[in-house]
Amino acid sequence: MTSVTVNGRRHNVNLPDDTPLLWALRDELGLTGTKFGCGMALCGACTVHVDGQPVRACMTPISAVAGSKVVTIEAIGGDAVGRAVQAAWVDMGVPQCGYCQAGQVMAATALLKRNRKPTDAEIDEAMSGNICRCGTYVRIREAIKQAGAAQPGAAR
């Protein structure tokens, strides 16, 4: 039994300690917004925030997040920066199939929370762990810049 705080709620998860957070979120807690893409921290589709840091949930055992605060795509809109990122994504029509975009939004939010005006090189570095097979990168880059320029809270 592992106690995990997800999106402000405490859950007791009755799974082996080495179960990746990803599968606890998706299969046990029903939070399917966090996606499975590779299982090896290679694609970023499963990115969540653990104590504010972007983390790949597919390689993070639940035992490692006991006592930590996990935030997923379902609740990132509760954060002003997260909300601005979501608004920019919708406004610029970033998603195509959309499957990777939860991870992209989480990674972009983490970037903008520490750096409101990232350079192209900083965007490359922060976002290159997140694969988009539809190829939405040019719009992701622009949306990050737009969200960074927006006043958090003022965004839709």
Partner: protein, 783 residues
């Protein structure tokens, strides 16, 4: 407008998408639906949605476009539109959403003709039922070009019914009323009635006959062609609410992963699940029978591990001990196969097009140039791997799956379970990428088999990434040999192209070893060049793995070879590559595909869809102009150009490549010009071209699947590399050639990919003098 709610997916969670629909007792009069129940001819009932002209009924006139597809099209407003008393308009989307924007675009067409206020439109996804909805095979870049007119008529018919209801209510001639922005207005009296208030009476109106339906003047379009509407699913996507196939959750659901034969055609000799069953959460193992070769859309067989969560199922599979008999494909080796294809490409093969007198002109040529190009197998690698859930209750099966082919899914699940198709419901979720992989519903059949073995309990089968990459329906592998003869002025007078590639039909017809008309018509025979002697040959090639269609299909290797070779000829002739390309295309003319030996023409009428070299020239000229072709470049930078006609659209790209001293390639800019005719949602056309540019760059620079001992060697994104943010083109400028709504439309989802790898390699040649003929580039430029 419908008497009942349209057939929709219950797993959907669209906010406010449950309108109270009050319309009742509508008899379906007035519209005689056209359906063309047509098998796929030679493939014996297989629903390979290739849009072949009917071969089985030689006396019938050939059918093209949507008419030629299984189950044709439907334009019945009773099927696609429902209006509630609250004024909410629900529009059914019957094509699968995989990122192309069809759930926005298709309803947008209906809503525009309906004069509906988009804010009060909800979109519902159709279940798999082609007799009801018309063809649902979402591939071949067909949705918009096949359903633009049916969906317009559908919206216009519903609008006519609302107008009729209002006119009757007010006792005025119907000619005096007009629908506008979700209400009907009688201008003379100033009376207005909302759609919600008219819904019930409108439903009692007869459905107007098709030929009486008045369509809008395109100048009056409010959504079509504007690109102002946000994506229907955009908000759900960025808030984690969007439901993909892998996200299905049902009460009491079990989770399964499958151990499949690692070699195509291999069989399971024995297995030991002792350790598997000790894994916490594992419930059972279930054998999945292997169907006889060729695979078609059937499961590959193996053992499913069923558990109470996905991770337990994966752990259980890791503990499984299976002995496989690899069979004859156990020696498949990509390096050896490449050598054997090269050998074939250097000898004459089956002649598939022969114009002029190639041997004479080649012998008379002042200069001959030859080159050989290679593109490896590719995996679709959609970010959402295949996943499907099946539940069987009282002899009725329900499927939730991310499929491009809901009707084929329904038919195959029914067949496997021994049910009638009527007892199978296929709920189409969002697709986390498709690219052709999810046209093949083998994974849904696996879920059906396992659910049945579990007494009908809901079972979700999830493919892990290694499953996806090692058991794909792979893009073919190809060697393209080209030889050109130039006259004294450098103009090509002889063109020989030998294309060697296992055909995707090998997955459906045992022993198929030549490219099908469908593949030949993807840019190898239907090249409309102004060259007097052309011979195209197709030497045999045997498939040793499961081949399938991958976004753009054979256009990728064909365009890479053809458009690289044109640039090579330009270099040999000492000419500017853009000017030379235009000369090779020749003057503007409309070429009948049949004269090029193309009997397929993407399933479209050769009269309505000739190969228009004027349009091809125009995209070349547009891309070149917008990219600043001819501008001076710093050292290590170059521009390359290419153009390709596919899916009845014309696309040209100019790539700017920078190669540093270590041989690392970056792409500062791509200009891509597209002529797909008139557009419904230009923003999505732009998005598709941007995405195609990125995928094309990945194909050129990084991606490959190789086989050793019959096994695919790449198991995850560390070895099957795809474009990431840092390697993506920094700028992608899309230039859409304006179209006319009275003219036929072209495809959008696929035609952007083929013309991207060749101009990248042409740009690298301009930058460095090095010619890349083997993809991916990877470290070929490393110093």
């Amino acid at each position: 407008m419908s008497a009942r709610r349209p057939d929709v997916s219950p797993v959907e969670s669209r906010p406010g998408a449950e309108p109270p629909v009050v319309i009742a007792n509508i008899s379906r009069v007035g519209i005689s639906r056209r359906r063309f129940l047509q098998g796929a001819g030679a493939l014996g009932g297989l629903v390979l949605a290739a849009g072949f002209p009917s071969a089985s009924h030689a006396a019938d006139p050939p059918k093209y476009g949507a008419d030629g597809m299984p189950n044709g099209w439907v334009d019945d407003p009773l099927v696609f539109v429902a209006i509630g008393e609250d004024g909410i308009v629900t529009i059914v989307c019957h094509r699968s959403e995989m990122g192309q924007g069809v759930r926005t675009g298709m309803p947008m067409i209906v809503a525009d003709e309906l004069e509906a206020d988009w804010k009060r439109v909800r979109v519902k996804q159709a279940t798999g039922d082609e007799k009801r909805f018309g063809n649902q095979d979402t591939d071949g870049s067909r949705s918009t070009r096949h359903f633009f007119h049916p969906m317009r008529r559908c919206g216009a018919a519903a609008r006519t019914m609302l107008e009729g209801a209002a006119a009757a209510k007010w006792g005025v001639p119907v000619s005096e009323v007009a629908a506008k922005n979700h209400e009907v207005v009688h201008a003379k009296s100033g009376r207005r009635a909302s759609y919600g208030s008219l819904a019930k009476a409108a439903a009692a109106q007869p459905v107007p006959a098709r030929d009486t339906v008045r369509l809008k003047d395109p100048a009056q379009f409010r959504y079509i062609g504007k690109g102002q509407l946000k994506l229907v699913d955009g908000r759900d996507i960025v808030t984690g609410k969007a439901q993909y196939g892998i996200d299905t959750r049902l009460p009491g659901m079990l989770y399964a992963v499958v151990a499949r034969p690692p070699v195509y055609g291999g069989k399971m000799a024995s297995y030991d699940a002792g350790e598997t069953l000790k894994v916490a959460g594992v419930v059972k193992v279930v054998e999945i029978d292997q169907s006889p070769a060729p695979a078609q859309f059937n499961p590959l067989g193996g053992v499913a591990v069923v558990a109470t969560n996905t991770w337990a199922a994966i752990q259980g599979r890791n503990a499984l001990k299976v002995v496989w008999n690899d069979g004859p494909n156990g020696s498949y080796d990509s390096a050896e196969f490449k050598a054997s294809m090269e050998e074939s490409a250097r000898k004459p093969g089956k002649v598939v097009r022969n114009d002029g007198n190639l041997d004479t002109d080649m012998a008379a040529a002042a200069r001959r140039v030859e080159a050989e190009y290679y593109i490896p197998h590719l995996a679709h690698a959609s970010m959402e791997p295949p996943a499907a859930t099946v539940r069987i209750v009282n002899g009725k099966a329900e499927v939730w799956a991310c499929v491009q082919s809901p009707q084929a899914t329904r038919d195959l699940v029914a067949k496997r379970l021994g049910l009638s198709a009527a007892d199978v419901t296929v709920n189409v979720t969002l697709l986390g990428g498709g690219f052709g992989r999810k046209s093949k519903p083998d994974f849904a059949v696996e879920a059906a088999v396992v659910s049945k073995a579990m007494g009908g309990k809901p079972v979700k089968v999830t493919w892990t990434r290694d499953d996806d990459l090692t058991h794909d329906y792979f893009h073919t592998v190809s060697v393209e040999y080209l030889e050109g003869g130039l006259d004294a002025q450098g103009k090509p007078i002889a063109w020989l192209h030998r294309s060697v590639a296992p055909t995707l039909f090998s997955t459906f017809v045992d022993g198929a070893k030549n490219e099908h008309a469908l593949e030949l018509g993807m840019g190898v025979i239907n090249v409309p060049f102004d060259i007097r002697s052309v011979r195209i040959e197709n030497p045999d090639a045997i498939a040793h793995t499961r081949i399938g269609w991958f976004r753009s299909v054979s256009n990728i290797p064909h365009a890479f070879a053809v458009q690289s070779f044109v640039a090579e000829l330009a270099a040999a002739a000492g000419r500017d590559p853009k000017d030379y390309l235009l000369e090779v295309i020749g003057p503007a003319r409309r070429v009948s595909p049949g004269t090029l030996g193309d009997t397929w023409n993407h399933g479209e009428s050769p009269e309505r869809y000739p190969v228009d070299t004027g349009r091809l020239r125009r995209v070349v000229e547009t891309a070149a102009r917008e990219a600043g072709w001819g501008r001076s470049m710093p050292k290590g930078r170059g521009l390359g150009i290419a153009a390709h006609y596919s899916f009845v659209s014309y696309v040209a790209a100019v790539v700017e490549a920078a190669v540093d001293e270590q041989g690392v390639v970056t792409i500062p800019r791509i200009d891509i010009a597209v002529d797909c005719g008139a557009t419904v949602n230009p923003d999505r056309v732009r998005a598709q071209m941007q995405g195609a540019a990125v995928m094309g760059v990945g194909i050129a620079t990084l991606s490959q699947v190789s086989f050793k001992s019959g096994r695919a060697e790449q198991e995850n994104f560390d070895t099957y590399e795809v474009t990431r943010m840092a390697g993506a083109p920094r700028e992608i400028h899309v230039h859409i050639i304006p179209g006319d709504y009275g003219q036929p439309m072209g495809g959008v989802g696929e035609p952007g990919v083929p013309p991207v790898p060749p101009p990248l390699c042409n740009a690298i040649f301009a930058a460095t003098g090095k010619r890349i003929r083997t993809l991916p580039i990877r470290d070929q430029l490393k110093a």
